[in-house]
């Protein structure tokens, strides 16, 4: 960790980069050309004829073959030399990054980008990019770790010097919260091993039995042995007669939608969004929190009939979910 004085000095050093060009303007090695456009379209599966079919392009609003707009910053990418890495900085942006890396802010993560297109590029256009370091935030705490947001602004112009578009790009330069996980050498399945799954409910003395029943294929609710009152979620004491003696009954799975909320954000990994989170009135007379599946959010109606089923996640975890029924 840096001392307060060291941090002050670091921030004074990095703030000197604000407003500076990262280096001289760079002109694309290749003029805009059909071969590179086609290669892009192949990789993106883009069949838009204005990028590749002269006859159609000429009759279109563009009047001829144009480059995909999103390709704007590809023309002036450095290309081949990028594979060598940047141990020795070759421009001001890399020098700024290295100062932060050396101070422990070793991580880098692209977070946002914004582009505006003044016009589409045509075959033969020569693109020149000029990038300045537009701003550096104060130190921020983020999910990835603490760090600084660095925003660059690149202006793209044609051979006549007219602007064809611009791009803002923001990266977080940060101190990683933990060391990167060791590389897996397990081969082709490595990606799967990292797929996050649904967050598991806490299971303790009072409720693990209920999840075990679900795992065994039964959706149950608790029943008081003293007064026969049903209750859910599981808990040790009957709210009616205070008996702590209980058993359970399997439910029919039939119910109606009491109320719901549709969750769009935040999008935790391991779930499909949006989530139709529901409170279901079971026909046995108790309520259960679950999700309504196979139903668009706009089709949710309070009072609609639902039927429970047991869903099994890829990792084997089972839970009751509901879907609309007749």
């Amino acid at each position: 960790m840096l001392t307060a004085d060291q941090k002050k000095e670091l921030e004074a050093t990095i703030q000197q980069f604000v407003g500076k060009p990262i280096g001289p303007a760079a002109t694309s090695r290749d003029a805009v050309n059909e071969a590179m456009i086609l290669q892009w379209c192949d990789a993106m599966g883009d069949t838009n004829p204005v990028y590749q079919d002269r006859a159609v392009a000429e009759k279109s609003v563009h009047g001829g073959i144009v480059a995909p707009p999103m390709m704007l910053d590809a023309w002036t990418m450095q290309g081949w030399d990028m594979h060598k890495g940047y141990d020795e900085p070759t421009n001001e942006e890399q020098r700024l990054h290295k100062i932060l890396t050396d101070a422990g802010y070793t991580g880098v993560l692209g977070t946002n980008t914004e582009q505006e297109f003044d016009r589409y590029l045509r075959i033969g256009d020569e693109v020149t990019a000029e990038t300045i370091i537009e701003g550096i935030s104060e130190e921020k705490a983020t999910g990835a770790g603490i760090g600084y947001f660095i925003t660059t602004k690149t202006t793209f112009s044609d051979a006549a010097g007219a602007q064809v578009g611009w791009m803002n790009f923001r990266v977080l330069k940060f101190i990683p919260k933990e060391a990167p996980q060791a590389a897996s050498d397990s081969g082709g399945g490595a990606a799967e091993a990292y797929v996050p799954a649904r967050i598991k409910p806490p299971m303790g003395h009072d409720n693990a039995w209920w999840w075990n029943e679900v795992a065994a294929g039964r959706i149950t609710v608790q029943r008081c042995k003293g007064c026969q009152q049903l209750r859910h979620p599981p808990r040790p004491m009957c709210p009616g007669c205070r008996s702590m003696e209980w058993d359970s009954i399997e439910i029919s799975g039939r119910g109606t939608l009491h109320t719901f909320t549709v969750i769009h954000y935040p999008q935790f990994p391991g779930y499909e969004f949006p989530i139709c989170a529901a409170l279901v009135d079971l026909e046995e007379g108790v309520r259960m929190v679950s999700d309504v599946m196979d139903c668009k959010p706009e089709d949710l109606k309070i009072g609609m009939k639902l039927k429970a089923y047991i869903h099994e996640d890829d990792d084997g975890f089972k839970l009751p979910l509901f879907r609309p029924s007749e």
Binding site: M36, D46, H62, P69, M70, T113, F117, A191, Q267, E272
Partner: protein, 135 residues
Amino acid sequence: MTTRTHASVEVGEELPPLDIETTATIVAGGALASRDYTPVHHDRAAAQAQGLPDIFMNILTTKGFVGRYVTDWSGPDAVVKGVKIKLGGPNLPGHTLKIRGTVSAKTDAEVEIDVAGTNPYGAHVNATVRVVLPQ
């Protein structure tokens, strides 16, 4: 490909879904087609040295798919004016990148589309794309 006209579009319209079954070829091919030779996008050992299980899609390719998604729907006579992108988790070979979009705003001149790309890690990209459609 047919072209959507400005008048035919209403706020709230959902664009047809697009699922990209991400392969190493798409990741590496997209990176090289965008002249991005950063090793983590084509060299698995380099990606693993950074703590990722495999090579991952570069931002230009993600942007390319967002652009394609919108013009697949709008047709060839649309003019893309701008895009704002918020980047999420990485997209890797084996991931299905699910791209969904909705018309989120409309002015006299432009139509705005919100695009979300998700994969098993959660949000990979959220974008807003502005296009001009023929009147």
